[in-house]
Amino acid sequence: MLFLAFALVASACSGDDGIDVSDAPADDTGDDDTSDDATGDDDSGDSRSGGVLLAAQGAEPDRLDPHLTSAFASFQVLENVYDTLVQPGADLSMEGALAESWEVSADNLTWTFTMRDGVTWHNGRAFTAADVEYSYNRILDPEAGAANAWRFGSVESVSAVDDTTLEIKVSRPTPNLLVSIGAFKGMAIVPREIVEDGTIDTQPVGTGPFKFVSSSPDQGIVLERNDDYWRADEGLPYLDGVTFTQIPDQTVKLTNLQTGEVDWVDTVPPQQLAGLEGDDSLVVMRVPGGDYHYFALNQNRPPFDNVLVRQAIATAINRGEIAEAAQFGAATANQAAIPAGTFWTYDYSPFPAADTDAAAALLDEAGVTDLTIEFLVSSEFPETVTQAEVIAAQLDAIGVAVEIRDVDFGTWLDVQGSGEFDAFMLSWIGNIDPDDFYYAQHHSDGGFNFQGYNNPDVDELLDAARVETDESARKALYEEAATAIIDDASYIYLYNPENINAWGANVQGYVVRGDNAVRFEETWLDG
């Protein structure tokens, strides 16, 4: 989903949007008991209906147009209002949503989707393939300014053949098209009428489990049950409604959960995890996510253009200590990007961990002494400051000095864009397809390759993997590319944090998802 990417492209001011997610720590030890509690109470059908869930989010949604917003807070709400053509299931593989089925032509250049029957918009109008055509063309239209047009990089045309059939033509085989159109609600299908009358930002109309009722500073954002939801025959959604309130202060948000003023919170400060997990009135659930934290050295600036210097730094740092310091154990150190437990997982750790002798030898070999690195971080993502402080202490052991440059996120983006940095540190969140993990960041033409990595072999591998339709062949290509990326220390990967939400013991049927999507479709309140 690359929310951060959107924050990066969209604007300086949207820096807050990513905080909550990238803050979200996690633990691979998991809470199997609690998650069973949360999902396993299937005792009686009656108890599953009714109730209005009060959800607290840390940031204010900036706007409600799913195609234009980049704020995670907006998507927390919109996730429950809109649908996409396909959507990630529990294991993050793509399953049908508004599209019931799809097929790809033999030349892999035409995708044909069949729409689900009997879906209606919240305003009562019937949903058709023309709505999908309209929505995708809006995303593709440069004048509309959608943040996600790049996801349609290979799409040549989108056309509704009839009311239930949609055809997408692509210029090259696009094995990750389903991820592109379904990974998150930034690719939502919206009705033409609310775009044309301009109410899409204030009064969204979707096809999802909840209808948007109102948004106001004192009442928060009020959603009510959509009785005509396309999964209504399964009794979904169970809740009568969801109300989102915005509580920026983490401590206040948590206190409200503990006192029962809200039922659900979108993040938990990692340092409080230990205390909360002993609290019987709460459920804290953490699952491995697709996020990763990293830093990158500026390869356009000596001595970081020397791969030995980058490898020395990748060798000197202690990733376990960094993860522990920043996430209080709710993260897994990783020298690669993709976390364990997915189809695309690639376990590769070439660097001896925290080996100061080996690191010093590499620096010697490079002939570099008296090295000072200026680390670009932002207090708006407080873990980056903490990590930089720990890295400063760790690199001190090999005689490398670290100067931390803590700026507001707007400045951070400017500096990153202008290339006036030694090193920058941040996280990428919500990735599913390996193309999301590597292409924009490490291809020499990649839009986020600010560190100046240029390896023709990697370019070739990434280009080939993009169009490879055989999954295992595609996986092999990405592993080859990842090997080079890690060996060359284009990014120095640190760890994968886990996604964490917390809720009151009365909330049932909610699960924290690997993609951090907040879905209340199958949630209900006890008693």
Partner: protein, 306 residues
């Protein structure tokens, strides 16, 4: 803002012998003031701590030890440890360097810019006065912290720029106080006498006017130091001052805020350090004002003797 000037022309032309006894009286009055003495002692301790900080600090300020994180105050860590296991006592001690340095340099900047502006403005009057003081009024009209943040937004964060920002913010105060005093003194007979003898403006300003506006400026300096340290703390709190990992009280306070439930000592000790330092400067400032203001002084002396 605190000094009244009607008194200045009393002793402006007094002979040197009497001047010495006045200094003596000033010192006596300050020493009579228990708060001022307390403030002086605290400041003295602070300066010593800042000077020999690395010798007394039991740990390195950036000595990270994750297993020791968030420990409460104990014999080995007097003020406890922070989220990275660093010793807070050491960081608070070394943090005093930042506060004092920023305070003195920022106020120094304000003095060096503000006093000449005030002198010129008060002495020449007319258009010079109007222009300079309107400029000062504009600066003065903006809330101090906002103005400092705006300056830092232009210059970029960092300790050097923080000093410049705070210095700019406090310049108008010194300009105003100096101007006010100059306005009364330049009408004195000895100034007219000097001028009629053909003294140049510079000479009159330097030998006749400047010495006579020192008292209110001294008082203001002490009070401004308190505000400057507070301003530095506020800017560091917002992440605009000292950059991590170096310790500054305001930044430590900001870091401690997120851990207030688990480790209140992370915020309490830097907070106390700020409060105590600012109070000490205020006590000394109040004592100086009492001592340098003859009307106030007589009240205090009579109180002290009675």
């Amino acid at each position: 803002m605190t000094a009244t000037s009607s008194r200045d022309d009393h002793y402006a032309g007094e002979p040197i012998a009497e001047h010495r006894s006045r200094l003596r009286a000033t010192v006596d009055t300050i020493l009579l003031n228990r708060l001022a003495v307390t403030g002086l002692i605290i400041l003295l301790l602070l300066v010593i701590a800042a000077a020999i900080g690395p010798l007394v600090a039991p740990y390195g300020i950036n000595e990270i030890s994750i297993p020791d994180r968030l420990q409460g105050p104990s014999a080995s860590h007097w003020f406890g440890t922070d989220d990275l296991g660093r010793d807070l006592f050491s960081r608070v001690i070394i943090g005093s360097r930042v506060s004092l340095m920023v305070g003195f340099i920022a106020v120094g900047i304000a003095l060096l810019i503000g006093v000449p502006i005030g002198l010129a403005s008060g002495f020449y009057g007319g258009a010079v006065d109007s222009w300079l003081m309107r400029l000062m009024d504009i600066l003065f009209a903006l809330p101090a912290i906002l103005l400092a943040i705006a300056v830092l937004a232009v210059l970029g964060p960092g300790i050097g720029n923080a000093m410049i920002a705070i210095g700019i913010v406090y310049t108008p105060i010194f300009a105003r106080i100096t101007r006010g005093s100059v306005l009364t003194i330049k009408e004195s007979v000895f100034v007219s006498a000097a001028r009629s003898l053909g003294a140049t403006d510079i000479r009159i300003l330097r030998t006749h006017i400047l010495p006579n506006v020192v008292a209110p400026i001294t008082v203001q300096t002490s009070l401004s130091l308190a505000f400057a340290i507070l301003a530095e703390a506020a800017l560091s709190f917002l992440g605009l001052g000292v950059q991590p990992p170096d310790p500054a009280w305001g930044r430590m306070l900001a870091e401690g805020r997120g851990f207030f439930e688990q480790a209140p000592w992370m915020a309490i000790f830097p907070g106390l350090a700020i409060v105590i330092t600012v109070m000490a400067f205020n006590f000394v400032g109040d004592g100086l004002r009492d001592a340098l203001d003859p009307q106030q002084r007589s009240v205090i002396e009579s109180r002290g003797q009675g």
